[in-house]
Symmetry: C2
Subunit: 393 residues, 2 copies
């Protein structure tokens, strides 16, 4: 039986009005407070930001994608270079996913379409075959045929050496029938057991494995999948797969799953969220979030700002051309406090990398501030008021 | 008569074996030691680096290009935003050029071809007309016809608000005849006088104006142009224009000019140098250098490294794929000391911005270290030994 002696999750306080909770998630690379936000360092770098800039933005934890790293530079190389922490010079807690999500859901485009239920499956030309053994796909780097199985995903994630790992699972799509989704889920459970077995074989206490709740948009399947993860010796639970086509569907899926997952384990919500998602889902017991939007939208000129009903402003808008005000003067970060919007507008228009760097760091810092304030609000019992502060213009 | 009360240049020591000298160049935004290197922040940003990262790399002084800024975002906007220092959040000494160099020499490509004597004049489609009044060219932003004159260059540079300004001059090309170069030089002198007059009209003590030595590859013209700058109330002297097709020609041009320029004023070498250029030309009395290569080559995956006969290594070379060593472990900078070459290789292969950021900061730090060591070597009288340390593999 897996024990995870170097990991722990302690729930230190609970919200009186919701299932929101405060926790301490301990890993071999440090302990983080939850709820927290895990920033995407897809290819062993959070895009446009150095580790020092992540720390300056008060980042606690990041993730990297097994799918991308297994293709380039390869898990063996990362292991030879001392593991992902050393390779990317990030000494804090680090998570890797299983690789399955990208194989099944994105081919080599955006993951958001599948999570949000937009059917773009016809665009996924890289996935060649799914069998009981695993999945075969083509590398987007060199076109090579590559097989990913529960065992190889565990092997790759062990070599990468992150603190928190994900089981290999099939990520179904919005258009998949209940019948297909049920069969897929059953296979993901068998894959989960194979992951646990492969993980246990090489377990040296340095990593903690999460099981993933699948089941698409079907209540019965979600509860069954949640119960499966609860009964297995995973360290944490992740809610994954297709989360519906609307905010209501997504909320429903978490509401079905949450009561059946292990109450004492950290719960991660895969690939979500916006600011409003954080408020919605911490109340349903989510402990950690991850999403590319803080850094991806930065590359499109978008800044997340507290006190915006729409969450963001687009600095490429002509109204900012001569705006001397900073992104957010209340933040203790040069990127947010010192540069004028007019300057960032200029940098974006001139295609200068510094514009993206400033926005990426500001957005990361803004989500870290959001999570700090959410934790304080759970402590103080005023999540509703904080949500209004963030999402009212 | 212009007095530049807030500026000074004090020569504090001289090399016994050459014309190399140590100086203190005082500006309203701080005093720098010379010889020094001025990094190019073309469009109001040193590409890929924040002001904090420049400081971390021990940068003393940067420049920005009038040509680019007048087109985007425009000098009026920069003035409205409080001037270039505030706009780009750089509080140290700052230089702007006159705009002429790009108008005449690059159209909208690279400046290096003209400085180095490669004839690409047929590619310059943006320059429409040169008259006694000034130059007319097309904006590369929107195709608008724009006139730049000595007076408008001074006006624009005053609005930008840098500490050190350059007179407007025509930059001739390698293929230009002695006759054409002579006539052009005479016009640049008249333009220099008009610059001095326009500058004096609005002088408030915040800026210092450099005259520029022109004259192409012709000794007589270089000495005549140098004598002109000496006789006029410029704060500093720059050596500009076409510098020949070989290292020998470039050296010759500076050797002709140097004895005739004002001995007590700071001497800037426009658009040069590599590491070997720094060693060659500090010995001929050059006090400041500028060149895009530290940051431009970074964007091509190239790192400057002390102790390399070729000055650089190309991290995109397959030999670095699994090289665990850092760029330079002797430097007190995370970019140089902490990341492995294998990681930077991976970032470059994956088109990750962090790869460029790391190399740009390392290269800037390396040139700043070069200049610190050059100053110490002038003090200690061992420039020859230092040159061997830098340029022997």
């Amino acid at each position: 039986m897996l024990k995870y002696p170097n990991f722990s999750f302690d729930i230190t306080a609970r919200d009186s009005k919701s299932s929101a909770r405060l926790g301490l998630l301990k890993t071999p690379h440090g302990t983080i407070e939850t709820p927290n936000y895990i920033f995407c360092g897809t290819k062993a770098t959070v895009k446009a930001l150095s580790p020092a800039q992540l720390r300056e933005a008060q980042t606690d934890i990041i993730l990297s994608n097994t799918y991308h790293l297994m293709l380039q530079p390869g898990a063996d190389l990362v292991e030879k270079m001392g593991g992902l922490h050393k390779f990317m010079q990030w000494d804090g807690p680090l998570l890797t996913d299983s690789g399955g999500f990208q194989v099944f859901s994105m081919g080599h485009g955006s993951c958001a379409d599948e999570i949000k239920g937009r059917d773009k499956s016809h665009e996924n030309k890289s996935l060649l075959k799914i069998t009981e053994e695993g999945a075969v796909f083509r590398s987007y780097i060199d076109g090579a045929k590559i097989k990913l199985t529960p065992e190889s995903s565990m092997d790759i994630q062990r070599k990468l050496g992150a603190d928190l790992l994900m089981q290999f699972d099939e990520c179904t799509a919005y258009h998949d029938s209940e019948d297909y989704t049920a069969k897929s889920m059953a296979m993901s459970m068998r894959w989960g057991d194979r992951c646990l077995e492969a993980f246990a074989l090489n377990d040296n206490g340095a990593q903690g494995l999460y099981g993933i709740v699948q089941g698409g948009v079907y209540e019965g399947l979600r509860t069954e999948s949640a119960a499966y993860t609860k009964d297995r010796p995973f360290f944490g639970t992740a809610i994954g797969g297709c989360l519906g086509g609307t905010d209501e569907e997504m909320r429903g899926i978490v509401e079905w799953s949450a009561p059946h997952i292990h109450p004492d384990r950290p719960v991660h919500f895969l690939g979500i969220g916006r600011i409003r998602d954080v408020f919605t889902f911490v109340r349903l017991g989510i402990d950690t979030f991850d999403c590319v939007i803080p850094t991806r939208l930065a590359r499109h000129g978008v800044a997340f700002v507290k006190g915006q009903a729409k969450e963001t402003i687009n600095i490429k808008n002509a109204r900012y051309r001569d705006d001397p005000s900073p992104l957010d003067e209340t933040m203790d970060l040069p990127a947010s406090r010192d540069f004028s919007k007019a300057y960032i507008y200029h940098l974006l228009k001139a295609n200068e990398l510094l514009g993206i760097q400033i926005l990426a760091q500001h957005n990361v810092a803004t989500f870290n501030r959001l999570m700090r304030e959410v934790r304080q609000a759970i402590r103080d019992g005023n999540l509703d008021e904080l949500e209004k502060e963030w999402l009212s213009s």
